[in-house]
């Protein structure tokens, strides 16, 4: 069950990309003028007032920073450069880079294009008009470079490399800010009585029989042996309580496909668990009895429950303790006592 643990919250977030400053004369040497002319026309940067020299420099900086998508020691030829730039959201990259450099025309264009969508995204993410607008305002200030590091203006847009769309990047960054903010403030909140009781109960000595230890270890091993996508689906469905439709949209598949994957994953985990338990010294009958154990019994004494609670409480979404119990019960129920699993029924109900 180690995979259910959240990563260390105190660890630094995404790696910081230091902006690479490239002399304009280098751009003329490194990039072919014909390619630059072609990309200049395609980017449409001239429409909002970017100069051609700035455009060339931005492109060269982006290319050199990622070495045109190649390994460090490889020197990119014209084809590699063309393929690299073709694979980027060039217009978004140029705009973001120009904004990061403080180009006023770029900022005007940025606010005209992304101002309203960003505010709407912040409201949707926070689920509140007020909080969303505050979040968006704070993010605008951050994007504009009001934050400084060692006396230098720091703009998050510098880390945008043009792989995905700029709007998607802005949404993701906004979500990160909101999640991080929530997780910080969530830890500062006082525990209510129920949570305190739960914490006290979890800290109390628990019966840790040999069967339960074996079962816990087996579950951890089996889950870690599953493919990454299955594990992600299991975690999103059982821990985050995402719907099949939400998971399906994120992975780009139909919700029925997610339903089938969930069922397949729970069946596989159950089968593997039986094998593991038998290998661990249990007879087949004892293993089946262990799998047929009432999840409510498990939630009182097993570390699994604690792990689930820990993961759930660490998770972003705030949930009452009663839901935590049902959540752990649903997962253990799916893995242990319910070989058919709930996804099919939910899929049918969602459809």
């Amino acid at each position: 069950m180690a995979y259910l643990r959240d990563v260390d919250d105190l660890a630094p977030s995404e790696p910081v990309d230091e902006p690479l400053r490239v002399d304009f004369s280098t751009a003329a040497i490194a990039l072919e003028p014909a390619l630059l002319d072609q990309l200049w026309g395609e980017s449409g940067a001239g429409a909002w007032g970017l100069g051609r020299g700035d455009f060339d420099r931005i492109l060269l900086t982006a290319g050199l920073r990622q070495n045109f998508g190649l390994a460090t020691e490889v020197i990119a030829g014209r084809d590699e450069q063309t393929a690299f730039f073709r694979g980027l959201k060039l217009a978004d990259l140029v705009l973001a880079s120009a904004c990061a450099e403080g180009n006023e025309r770029a900022w005007e264009h940025f606010m005209a294009v992304y101002g309203s969508p960003l505010t709407r995204a912040a409201i949707a993410i926070s689920g509140s008009e007020t909080v969303g607008r505050d979040l968006a305002d704070a993010f605008y200030a951050e994007l504009y470079g009001l934050n400084t590091r060692e006396g230098k203006r720091k703009c998050p847009l510098e880390s945008y490399r043009g792989r995905g769309s700029l709007l998607g990047w802005l949404r993701t960054t906004l979500s990160q800010r909101f999640v991080d903010h929530y997780r910080r403030t969530f830890r500062e909140e006082a525990l209510d009585d129920d949570a305190h009781d739960l914490a006290a109960a979890s800290s109390s000595p628990e019966p840790d029989g040999a069967v339960q230890v074996t079962l816990r270890d087996a579950i951890g091993d089996v889950l870690s042996s599953q493919p990454a996508e299955e594990r992600f689906v299991l975690a999103a469905y059982y821990l985050d309580e995402r719907t099949l439709a939400e998971i399906g949209r994120l992975l780009g598949v139909h919700e029925a496909t997610i339903s089938r994957r969930l069922k397949r994953a729970t069946d596989a985990v159950r089968k593997e668990l039986l094998k593991k338990l038998e290998k661990g010294g249990l007879s087949r009958r004892a293993a089946q009895e262990a799998l047929g154990m009432d999840p409510r019994d498990l939630e009182l004494g097993m570390d699994l429950k604690k792990l689930l609670q820990h993961s759930a409480s660490d998770s972003f979404r705030e949930q009452p303790p009663s839901e935590l119990g049902s959540k752990s019960q649903s997962l253990t129920g799916a893995l242990l006592s319910d070989p058919k699993g709930p996804p099919a029924s939910e899929a049918s109900s969602e459809r």
Binding site: P15, F232, E246
Partner: protein
């Protein structure tokens, strides 16, 4: 600890965005999925970003729709939407036409319904010419209104002049006919008064006669056959007059419509000359011979469209119906070629009638039998048909099959 886990490191926003947009390579995607399987934070980040995308979709769709409306050529915007719009316009147009038609018919029916009581009440004397003053009073009013309308400033002077001339001519002809009919009516009324004593009749014909029958002013039947025929002739004259008079009454009742409405006047006022007697009895009278237009008007006003279909018979010759008469369930119709057909089941089945007359049949109507011969109560059952040929001969038949020349009717 899962080896895939890299403690303290989250994928950056660039990678998570590329993951959500399905832009990562398979290897990178596996790494991200493996991380997100154990990282609640990154799961939350991507699901929240996804939520923001979904919240943006309606706005984007709305903007796209507005862009399509604003841009793209006139026809491109109507590329598919013109079909339901055209269908809707067709339905609305059809409804408007039906409504106008029905409104004009109902107005005509109102005019017909209102005219007789005005005639009767205006002069309660049992004089056949009693209705004349009222009609004279109303007709000039209607004509005056029509002339006033024709002289509206919107119309050109030439049109107004032409219309005024035509109206004046019609006025003269109508006045001449009316004078002649009034003279005959006076004579007939005098004779009727002599025969019946105190019978109260109005010399009204056509549809007005039918209305007068129901007004309860009928008296004892004391008319002989000669009087009946004279009445028929009289009513024929009156029908022509009524045709003009009703046109004007119609136009007078509809101030917002044009005074010249060929559709409505032809459809509702062409009352065929029938031989219906003057109001003589409250007993059920024979069905008056009415034109197709009158029957249709009655059907439509009752909302009975199925019956209306039956009114327009399809003759075996497939030719248009030139004239038609009804008696109970029997229908006799003449097509455009002069062939005569008989239906004994209200127009469902038709059979040709052998030619027993000389010349070509041009008109048929229903005539009531001589009153003295059959009595008022039996008139409806045995009303007879009258067929007029192009030689101005009148042939009569009670069953529509056997026709006999009416003595004294031919010229």
């Amino acid at each position: 600890m899962n080896p895939m886990i890299q403690p303290g490191t989250h994928p950056d926003a660039e990678v998570l965005t590329a993951f959500a947009e399905q832009l990562l390579s398979e290897t990178e995607r596996e790494d991200v999925l493996a991380h997100m399987a154990v990282c609640g934070r990154c799961r939350e980040v991507v699901f929240l970003a996804q939520k923001a995308v979904e919240a943006e979709e309606p706005v984007r769709l709305g903007a796209r729709v507005s862009e399509e409306k604003a841009g793209g050529g006139w026809f491109s915007g109507w590329k598919w939407s013109w079909i339901p719009v055209a269908a809707l316009a067709g339905v609305v147009g059809f409804a408007v036409i039906r409504h106008e038609k029905r409104a004009s018919e109902s107005e005509t029916r109102m005019a017909q319904a209102l005219a007789p009581p005005a005639v009767v009440q205006s002069r309660p004397e049992p004089n056949a010419s009693a209705a004349e003053p009222a009609e004279k009073q109303s007709r000039p009013t209607a004509r005056t209104e029509a002339k006033q309308k024709l002289s509206e400033p919107e119309r050109s002077d030439r049109d107004a002049l032409v219309d005024r001339k035509s109206l004046d001519e019609e006025d003269k002809v109508a006045a001449r006919k009316k004078d002649e009919a009034a003279k005959e009516s006076d004579q007939l009324s005098a004779a009727a008064l002599k025969d019946s004593g105190s019978s109260v009749h109005g010399a009204i014909g056509g549809a007005l006669g039918a209305r007068a029958k129901t007004s309860g002013v009928g008296g004892p039947m004391a008319q002989n056959q000669v009087q009946q025929q004279n009445n028929a002739q009289l009513q024929q004259n009156y029908s022509n007059e009524n045709r003009q008079g009703n046109v004007l009454a119609d136009s007078a009742n509809k101030p917002e419509s044009s005074p010249i409405r060929p559709g409505s006047s032809a459809e509702t006022v062409t009352v065929q000359a029938d031989s219906g007697p003057l109001p003589v009895s409250p007993a059920p009278a024979a069905e008056p011979t009415v034109s197709m237009a009158q029957m249709e008007s009655a059907m439509v006003s009752e909302g009975n469209f199925e019956k209306r279909k039956a009114v327009r018979p399809v003759l075996p010759s497939k030719l248009a119906v030139r004239s038609q008469a009804t008696s109970a369930k029997r229908l006799v119709a003449i097509d455009a070629a002069g062939s005569v057909f008989l239906s004994e089941d209200a127009g469902k089945n038709w059979q040709p009638v052998s030619t027993q007359w000389t010349g070509r049949a041009v008109a048929v109507n229903t005539a009531e039998p001589p009153v003295g011969a059959v009595g008022g109560l039996l008139k409806q059952a045995i009303a007879r048909f009258e067929l007029t040929t192009d030689k101005q001969e009148t042939w009569v038949s009670e069953d529509g099959k056997t026709w006999t020349l009416q003595v004294g009717a031919g010229k």
